[in-house]
Symmetry: C2
Amino acid sequence: MADDTAGSGTVAGKEMERLGDMDAEAFRRHGHALVDWIADYLNRTERYPVLSKNPPGAVRDALPPSPPEKGVPFDAIFRDFERVILPGVTHWNHPGFFAYFAISGAAAGVLAEFLSAALNVQAMLWRTSPAATELEEVTLGWLRQLLGLPDTFEGVIYDTASISSLHALAAARHRAVAGVRTRGLAGRPDVGPLRVYASEQAHSSIDKAIMTLGLGHDALSHVPADDEFRMRPEALREAIAADRAGGVTPLAVVATVGTTSTTSVDPVGPIADICADEGIWLHVDAAYAGVAALVPETRGVLAGCDRADSFVVNPHKWLFTPFDLSAFYCRHMDTLRDAFSLTPDYLQTLEAVEVRNLMDTGVQLGRRFRSLKLWAILRHFGSEGIRDRLAEHMRLARLFAAWVDESRDFERLAPVPFSVVCFRALPAGAAAAPGRAGTDGGASTAGGAADAAVDAAADTLNERLIEAVNATGEVFLSHTRLDGRFTIRLAVGHVRTEERHVRRAWELLDEKLRALR
Amino acid sequence: MADDTAGSGTVAGKEMERLGDMDAEAFRRHGHALVDWIADYLNRTERYPVLSKNPPGAVRDALPPSPPEKGVPFDAIFRDFERVILPGVTHWNHPGFFAYFAISGAAAGVLAEFLSAALNVQAMLWRTSPAATELEEVTLGWLRQLLGLPDTFEGVIYDTASISSLHALAAARHRAVAGVRTRGLAGRPDVGPLRVYASEQAHSSIDKAIMTLGLGHDALSHVPADDEFRMRPEALREAIAADRAGGVTPLAVVATVGTTSTTSVDPVGPIADICADEGIWLHVDAAYAGVAALVPETRGVLAGCDRADSFVVNPHKWLFTPFDLSAFYCRHMDTLRDAFSLTPDYLQTLEAVEVRNLMDTGVQLGRRFRSLKLWAILRHFGSEGIRDRLAEHMRLARLFAAWVDESRDFERLAPVPFSVVCFRALPAGAAAAPGRAGTDGGASTAGGAADAAVDAAADTLNERLIEAVNATGEVFLSHTRLDGRFTIRLAVGHVRTEERHVRRAWELLDEKLRALR
């Protein structure tokens, strides 16, 4: 063994024994410094602007264009992190983050991820870490019970809901198209056009899954929603009937519990009836709102989901788990395994008959030890702690919605079933009438031509308003479009968000609106 | 704000302010304890058996079947981790891990992952963390230069090579099949059968990608390999010609640099010639061996890869980066973006015209801040430190191969281009003749019937041998099959592996073989 090599002569080399890795003493020094920094960061993220103020290229241009020849100790890297990288970070782990879906990397999960990185387990096979496979089974069992889903659902962890829904639709394809695993879709006179149905409010990951699977974007039928942005079951039934009459084979229906724009909930029960009648796979995308089933007042949110064929909920969204961790449940996991399992010689094991090998459940061979952080979160907060926090987020959203509803300068544009509020500011002179700021879906009741003029002015105003509010760095809100109107969204979901943060968002909106009007 | 809630009354609640998260003092206490544990773990992993000795169900049965109602502090969770989870861990971060491809979660990368978990950034859009998008660009530029690939390759980070290769083939499909994004593959008389070509030694992820994309497993043509397990270009050319004559459209060729069983290298230059002649997409899977291009003696390993259309290398394999991080390069990233980009209203941004939004490059909307750990690894080791370690791993593999070649009890079954040795023990009485233990591919030169008897006996012997060696807990080796023979693999790749570990593996093989024969 060469004890004295070029590597040992570098700056980083001084911290290493021979050709190996950082020694224990150096790791402790750097690690303890990092713990202190992170403890401070998690508790005082507010010192940073939520939305990075960097112009494009600032980070890129501040870094050398070529890789370093010599190594450096970790503290030198960390200094550059603080100097160059940190100003370019948008702080998702900030209590003023109200954009998209607000997520949390809660402390217990952050520590568990640290541990998971140190173990560096790759859980493709049971034997490549029995604990990773079995803890995934246990934690997904716990989560399933918390959601109130029956034990006919088997669970598996993926990275994202995009991949979970891809697998759901792959399983549906496998069931609906004979021989698709072997013979595919192309050049087969026996396979006609196929269709997947989802509401016009469904997430773009459904579109991407359909494109990936070779079904083509046209295979997605966007079913019209009602005025509260929920799929209309009768429209679904009509779309299926029309397709069947036209020689198109229905493949799957995707119902959403908590759509991205407004968190509306599709009527899963009636949709499940249709799927049962028609023999169509039902996939439920509850990535964001599924966990609301833990809270007594929204217990019924998953009504009908026990009849779904597959179901996805993302603990990395509203369950405080550091990104990424998507929980996928399926009542026919064997169909998915039939679609994907394939064991080359180099992955065969004697125990394959008696254990689950997680690689059989999907596209990705490699999988991290993700269940460790979910276990840490579920145990650290307990069901009670999770329930209380989710209920508080919903309380904060209702509070904010009440401020919107009471204001003559703003109007609400959608119901607030969970922790997201959709609203907009009104141009001067178009102050909200009681009828406009309704709580019943926000569909305008005023006349057409006048409304169109209001909407055009409002779009411009709200684009400038959200820009001005986000530029403060105190909060970060995102937008969507509802019925064509530019809509501001306030999404509560960070574990450290308090009433004062929501109140500050409201104050800033009010203040910036005055400046703009 | 409710300051006094049910959550605060729990054990974990005592560490929390109000409904929030762990306070700074508690985080420091738990974090510092974890740093000390990890420092010790990384430097003394050898105290643990590398392959878990757990029987199936041990972890599952030791945990409560239902989720806890009350929360607990992190140290209580950690105690259960040590007691219940740790015995079920197979220690990938162990210098005696010689199975599959040995990987490393090097210390600098582990610390960077801790930081990444704390930031909890979701890098779907440039604005959702400019630093994540731009550091990805910079670090992939560095890695590209280290690999010696031209700057016509644009890079993007995915989780796994499975997903990288899926995207490569999706891009190839997009180029070859007009309208596939919109119209898909099914029910189209204008789309005939399609084919993807890969060597019979290619990784199973290629099979899975083809199945996922709706091409069907039959669309994969396994091109025969030569006696050193490399794709035969003339066989590829023949397969393409036969397909064209039969009305099958060639879609893509996948060449492998470092196959999983033997780390053989397909002749990428001649394959690129064929792809150029035929107008077929060339994807190179260099997930494991691509980084060997950094080492002078294996500099030429990527010859011809500059002509590939796409290329994947996994820093989480042989570049010390904690799992997961797969680097995908493409000379036509716009084709991939054409295939996948789709921006719903809620993800539109003003700056989209001047920045890259990474969500446009693939299936998954969500993406972690993975470049942070790659940056830490490249800077901490420096090019020099990486080069020295890779060279040392190859030296250790050659050393082990020499022991095999010198032994009359073992024979080598494949060349050793990098850091993996394929070999087997010989049954008593079938001691290796000089002609058997050749370095030229290991194809047996002895007669058929005698060989068949030797092979049958050898399979049983080697299955028992690897089982006995792995049961010691000191090392972990895996196996494959080459020309039908059960083959033991020793893969060197962990950053802390020293000559003494490789020597110990050899001693154990020798010792257990004596006991078995």
